[in-house]
Every structure is written in structure tokens, then in C-alpha cells.
């Protein structure tokens, strides 16, 4: 009941019917963000709406298309950091520790409309116990996108939500074809000349971690003091992904794929039948008007897990207009005010009500070309039921660790070394960072 009241309040506020809360009159806010032209368009529109809903406040919204960190660091050095902004995770942790970012828990505790419980559990970036600088306004879990027409043409049944990794490989084999029309298990199949891949797997840590978890492994040990990818369960999962490329020949090497076409092109031009990737791809796939659907990740082991990750929006603790800046923070986390990025498949909301309640779901996730029938099971249900925070949510220097681990894995994906060897070779370096 309390939730419902809170919810309706949010709605009323968003519609601008409630007299606005206390904020500084004449406040001038600076908001910086990154993103594609579409995101830019939607966010700029959302800023206009914000100004309208908050008379007396103006927002200078600056889209920074590249080298975002450089721009932020120079602004910060000059004491000109934006009031509210997108921020890369490592930078946000560094800033928060120096007291530069607002602890949103404090704000939420006093806020009349929004509370911490409105958000999906485990989506908070906490730099200390009880202190968080933000959540994930756009949760980006992973799932399997597939081109239905390619399945139909090959006479293969669509995958079902309860499939395993072995099912995934078997289906991928049926959909992998070389220049002479042969599949990987057939006599005379030429792995050097594949014209259609059954699958493509994004191999960043955000992509493979769900499989590692599913197989019973993890990136760090339980108290986050030791590197754990070297444990057999984790190593096996990573090896299996690499084997899909180099042994089973059902997927392009990710290092090669990096240069290729975006996933939508890969799927649309019949180069790849299934793409294991992030939620945000719904935008491009929806725009392409192709016949695609979604299915949850295949289970590699017995553990159910789905990654919760994404960028964050923070508020500057030194803002001249702290209340107005806080209003803008809330605005960015309220799906209604940035509805277009949600409805067009780029962002998934982080407010629980928007993932659970039919009438709100209807506003963005149901019955539109960006969100096919499998969307709810693939991204929403998995997040709510067994979503698990990505490592950068609790490990402030995770990106530094990734700068060591990711390059070592390059040769695993290329099939030039095994996962066990590659991971063992960086174990000492990673543990040294953890020990600091």
C-alpha cells in the first residue's frame, strides 16, 4: 500500500500537478552526459521537461561524445564540476571517497516521494557502509537475441527459456554454415570459411560473468580479498565460451568481431543467428524492424544468476544549488521523465514498480517493436528473481584489475592459450592489487 502511494506521488509529481518541492529559485544547473544521437535527443528533451516542471531552474545540458573522463577531470580540477551528471564508475568511487559526491541514501531518507526501497535491491553503488553515490538508471542485463527468420529458414526450433549451454551449442551448430553449406560436425566442414555463425558471444567481463556464476564460480572470493577466476568452476566456464569459438566453431572470435558490424548488422545480414549481448541492443534491433526475439541466457551449471550493471548518475556535493541538483538526480532516475530511452529499448528502469506493475510496464516494455515477447522473461524476471551486482559495484578499483585480466584473456578467446594458463599468469598481479 505504501508503495502504491509513493508510486502515485511520483506520477503526480512527474505530471507537474503537485507543487514542486523546495529547491533554489533561479538555480542554474550544469548537466553532462554521453551517448548516441538518440540518447542525446531524449536526454535533451528530458532537460527541457525538467525546466518546465521546475519553474525558476535552468539546465545547461552538455553532451560529451568522447573522452568523457578527460572533460570531467578538467572541470573538477577547476572546481567547475557539473551539478548532476553521468559518471564512469571508477571516477565516481574516487570522487565519492574525497567527499565530492552526495550520499543519496541521506537524501532518499528525507525525500517525500522517493525511497531507497523503490529501487531494485543490490543496484546501489556504495563507497562505504551506508553511503551510496547512485544507482543504475539503466540496468543492462544480458540475454540471447536471435533472428527468428534464420531459425525458420534452417528449420530449427526456437530456444526455450530453460535451455542449457549444451543445448545452446547444439542449436548453434545447426545454424553455423561454411561456404559449401556444411555444418561444424559434418565431414569436410571448413572452419576457415564460415559464412554464417550460429552465435556471437560478447566476451567482456559483463558478458561472461553470468556464465561463470551459473557454473558456480565467481570473480573474487567471498570476502573479495582474492582473485577467484582461477578456481576450476570459473575457469571451466570461460574455457567453454572460448571453445565455442575455437573448438566448436559456432561463433566468431570476439576480437575479430570487435571490428565487425554492430550486433544488429550481424543478425540482420544473416551473419549470426544468436547474439549473446546486453539489453541496450533492443534499440538498434527494434529500429531495424527485423524479426527477432529474446531468450534468457542458457544455464551452464546449476546456479541461477543474471548480471546487474550499467553506468550511473551522480550529484555533486559542492553544487551551489544542492536541492535543485537533487531534483535533477531524481528526474534522471524516474522512468516517466526519460520515458523515451526506456520505451525505445536503450535503458531498463531501475524502479521496481516499473518492472512489476502491468500498467507501468505497458508504458515501455509491452507491445512495441523494441520489446519482443521474450523480453520480460529474459531481462525483467531474471533481474528481479536472481539479479546479481557486477563486480564494479562493490570493488572500487575493479577497472584497474580488468586492465590486467582482460588482456590476458585476449589469447584465450583466440584459442592460443587455455583459460587456466592465462588466468594463472595474472593471479599474482591481481592479488597484489587486492592486497593494497
Amino acid at each position: 500500500m505504501k508503495k502504491l502511494i509513493a508510486l502515485s506521488l511520483v506520477l503526480i509529481l512527474a505530471l507537474g500537478m503537485l507543487p514542486a518541492l523546495a529547491y533554489e529559485d533561479g538555480a542554474h544547473l550544469v548537466f553532462t552526459f554521453w551517448g548516441s544521437p538518440i540518447e542525446k535527443e531524449v536526454i535533451n528533451a528530458a532537460m527541457k521537461d525538467f525546466e518546465e516542471a521546475h519553474p525558476g531552474v535552468t539546465v545547461e545540458s552538455v553532451h560529451v561524445p568522447n573522452e568523457y573522463d578527460t572533460k570531467m577531470q578538467t572541470m573538477a580540477a577547476a572546481g567547475e564540476a557539473p551539478d548532476t551528471c553521468y559518471m564512469s564508475i571508477p571516477m565516481a568511487f574516487a570522487w565519492a571517497k574525497e567527499g565530492e559526491l552526495v550520499n543519496v541514501y541521506d537524501r532518499l531518507a528525507d525525500d517525500p516521494v522517493l525511497s531507497k526501497d523503490d529501487f531494485v535491491d543490490g543496484t546501489w553503488y556504495e563507497w562505504e557502509e551506508g553511503k551510496a553515490f547512485g544507482s543504475i538508471p539503466a540496468i543492462e542485463p544480458f540475454g540471447v537475441f536471435y533472428n527468428k527468420d534464420m531459425f525458420d529458414a534452417a528449420g530449427v526450433e526456437y530456444p526455450s527459456a530453460d535451455w542449457t549451454w549444451d543445448d545452446f551449442i547444439a542449436i548453434a551448430k545447426k545454424l553455423t554454415v561454411d561456404a559449401s553449406g556444411k555444418h561444424p560436425d559434418e565431414e569436410g566442414f571448413n572452419a576457415e570459411n564460415i559464412v554464417q555463425y550460429g552465435a556471437q558471444i560478447s566476451t567482456g567481463a559483463t558478458g561472461y560473468i553470468s556464465f561463470v556464476w551459473s557454473n558456480g564460480g565467481d570473480y573474487f572470493n567471498e570476502d573479495h580479498t582474492k582473485f577467484a577466476l582461477t578456481e576450476p568452476a570459473a575457469t571451466e566456464a570461460i574455457q567453454k565460451i572460448a571453445d565455442a569459438v575455437n573448438v566448436e566453431h559456432v561463433a566468431p572470435s570476439p576480437i575479430q568481431a570487435k571490428a565487425i558490424p554492430s550486433p544488429v548488422i550481424a543478425l540482420q545480414s544473416n551473419m549470426v543467428a544468436m547474439y549473446v549481448g546486453g539489453q541496450w541492443n533492443c534499440l538498434d534491433l527494434g529500429d531495424s524492424d527485423m524479426n527477432f526475439d529474446l531468450v534468457p541466457l542458457p544455464q551452464m551449471g546449476d546456479v541461477k544468476a543474471s548480471v546487474m550493471q550499467g553506468g550511473t548518475v551522480v550529484t555533486n556535493a559542492n553544487s551551489k544549488y544542492p536541492d535543485a541538483a537533487w531534483e535533477l538526480w531524481k528526474w534522471m532516475y524516474s522512468p516517466d521523465s526519460v520515458l523515451n530511452v526506456h520505451a525505445r529499448g536503450l535503458w531498463m528502469p531501475v524502479q521496481k514498480a516499473w518492472l512489476e506493475e502491468e500498467e507501468l510496464l505497458d508504458k515501455w516494455a509491452l507491445n512495441n517493436k523494441y520489446h519482443p515477447s521474450g523480453f520480460k522473461a529474459t531481462f525483467i524476471d531474471s533481474t528481479l528473481e536472481y539479479g546479481r551486482p557486477f563486480m564494479n559495484m562493490y570493488m572500487p578499483n575493479f577497472d584497474e584489475i580488468e586492465a590486467i585480466v582482460a588482456p590476458a584473456l585476449d589469447n584465450v578467446w583466440l584459442g592460443e592459450t587455455t583459460a587456466a594458463e592465462a588466468l594463472a599468469s595474472v593471479e599474482a598481479d591481481v592479488n597484489a592489487i587486492l592486497a593494497k
Partner: protein, 308 residues
């Protein structure tokens, strides 16, 4: 050759006048250096001994930033040095020679000379974002036009920037494509080689090779010298290829020094440490250029030299 002595009339007045004129005319450059270059340089040098993270107030940590680079706790530092050295010592000589040859060809009285010059130069004006994107496509091992073509005509293909042993040579090759700037400098240098020298060789019965080797090359040494120095200075600071194409991979094989530095400075907010990394590079480039400058008197020929 330049024996004509300046008339000794009032040598010291002459010197004084020259000193005044020299400082006066060089003033913009000197002031510009002091204000816009030296101040930030000194600042970064001081910061290299601090724990500066941009948003904090820096405090002194002594030699820690330097020590941590060399004590083996950072495996990436040496990897980036290695990758960068490999690239620089491959690409600078290659570029210098290739661009010089190209410029010599483009300076010959050939038909459609303007057309050829334009073709070889235009790649250098295309924005880097477009250039890197296109090369990523062309060099793709499976679908890239280059491998597709090689396969069609039955030649062995290559993984180019996507494999450890070939990534640096591939990037060096790519650099040749954008060598137009150097070619243009050579070309404009070649305009200054007076035709009367060639006529003199002809009178002595010399052939094209004699002209090239005895006139063109020596007369061009100041330009060659310039391009070599700039090649090293810029080569060590190569960044875009790693930043936009390889992200330093695969397996750190193209972890350019600047990319490594940039990541420490702006992504990880370790500006103090980044300053230390930068000053080590400064030292490397400085020593190298100093050596080249020192040797220049043996091989660079200035017609307007005042060493007489």
C-alpha cells in the same frame, strides 16, 4: 663556401644590435614557451612527486610514484615501454625513407603530378575517427576487404591488428598510409634545391643517381633531420591507434605508452603517478633527440649555416 666575412666595422655594436634583434624577434616564441609550456611542465614535474588525484589536495610522497613503476609491481609499465619502442623503431625509419622516396617521385616532372600528389596527401586530412573505423573494417580477418581480396587471389591472409605478433607491424603499415604530412614537408623542401646544382652535375657528366645522391640527399638533410626528430617525438606519443582501434590489445601487444599513461591519468584518476610516467617518457625522448642533434653536425648540411 660561406667564407665571406662580415665586415669588421664595429663588431661589438653589430653583436649588440643582433642580440637585441634576436631576443626581440624571438620574443613571441620565448614568451609563449615560458607561459604556455614551461609553467605547466614545472607543475607536472612537481606533481609527479605527489599523490595528486585531481579532486584531492596533493601531498608529497617523495619518489614513490617513480619507485612503483620500476619495482616490478606494475607489469604494464614495461609492457607499454616495449610495445612503444617496437612501434617507434619500426615506424620512424620506415616512414622517413618511404616518405622521402615518395616525395622524390612526386617531385619528378611527370604527367598528372598534381593528381598523384593529391591522392597521396588526402588520407592525412580525413578525421581520425573515420580513418580508424575504416581500417578496422578493412583489416578485419574474416570480412575485411584486404583478406577477402588476398583470399581471392590465392595469397596467404593475416590477422593484422588482431594478433599479438602482427599488430605493431600492421599499425606501422597503417601509418604509412597517413604519411602525407611528411611527404608534403619533403616536397616543399625539394622546391628549395636550386636547379643550378643539377646543371652542374650534368656538365660534369653525372647521371640521375649522381644527382640524387650528391645533390638532392645532402641538400635535403635539414628536412630529413627535422622529420626524424619529429618522427621520434610524435612516435613515442602515439595514442589514437591504441585508443580507438586496439585498446592496447591483444594481450597488451599494442599497449602504447600514451594509452597506458592516459588511462592512469584520466580513468583511474592517478594524476601524480601519470606525471611520473610522463617525465620518464620525457627523459627517453630528450636523450634520444639530444643524441640525434649531436650527430647532426656530421650529416646535416646547412647552406645558410653560420658556423664558419
Amino acid at each position: 663556401m660561406h667564407a665571406t666575412p662580415v665586415v669588421r666595422r664595429g663588431r661589438s655594436t653589430f653583436m649588440r644590435r643582433n642580440a637585441r634583434a634576436g631576443y626581440l624577434l624571438a620574443a613571441p616564441a620565448i614568451l609563449g614557451f615560458l607561459i604556455f609550456t614551461m609553467v605547466p611542465m614545472v607543475a607536472s614535474f612537481v606533481l609527479s612527486f605527489t599523490d595528486y588525484q585531481i579532486i584531492n589536495t596533493p601531498s608529497f610522497v617523495g619518489w614513490r610514484n617513480y619507485r612503483e613503476l620500476f619495482d616490478g609491481t606494475d607489469s604494464l609499465f614495461f609492457k607499454s615501454l616495449k610495445a612503444t619502442n617496437y612501434f617507434v623503431f619500426l615506424s620512424v625509419p620506415l616512414n622517413t625513407i618511404f616518405a622521402f622516396m615518395l616525395a622524390s617521385l612526386l617531385n619528378r616532372p611527370i604527367r598528372a603530378r598534381g593528381f598523384f600528389r593529391a591522392i597521396y596527401y588526402i588520407p592525412s586530412v580525413v578525421p581520425v575517427v573515420a580513418v580508424t573505423t575504416i581500417w578496422m573494417w578493412l583489416l578485419n580477418p574474416d570480412l575485411g576487404l584486404i583478406n577477402v581480396t588476398l583470399r581471392k587471389i590465392g595469397l596467404p591472409t593475416n590477422k593484422w591488428i588482431f594478433s599479438e605478433p602482427t599488430v605493431i607491424p600492421s599499425l606501422a603499415l597503417m601509418d604509412l598510409w597517413a604519411t602525407g604530412n611528411i611527404v608534403v614537408i619533403y616536397l616543399s623542401g625539394l622546391q628549395g634545391v636550386g636547379t643550378h646544382y643539377y646543371e652542374a652535375v650534368e656538365v660534369d657528366g653525372g647521371n640521375a643517381w649522381h644527382k640524387f645522391w650528391n645533390i638532392t640527399v645532402p641538400m635535403m638533410t635539414p628536412t630529413i633531420f627535422f622529420n626524424v626528430i619529429m618522427g621520434f617525438i610524435n612516435g613515442f606519443q602515439s595514442f589514437a591507434q591504441a585508443f580507438m582501434m586496439t585498446q592496447g590489445g591483444p594481450n597488451n601487444a599494442s599497449l602504447f605508452y600514451m594509452f597506458y599513461l592516459y588511462r592512469e591519468a584520466f580513468t583511474f584518476s592517478k594524476m601524480g603517478r601519470a606525471c611520473a610516467i610522463a617525465w620518464i617518457l620525457f627523459l627517453i625522448i630528450g636523450v634520444l633527440t639530444a643524441v640525434i642533434f649531436r650527430t647532426s653536425k656530421y650529416w646535416v648540411f646547412y647552406e645558410g649555416s653560420d658556423e664558419r
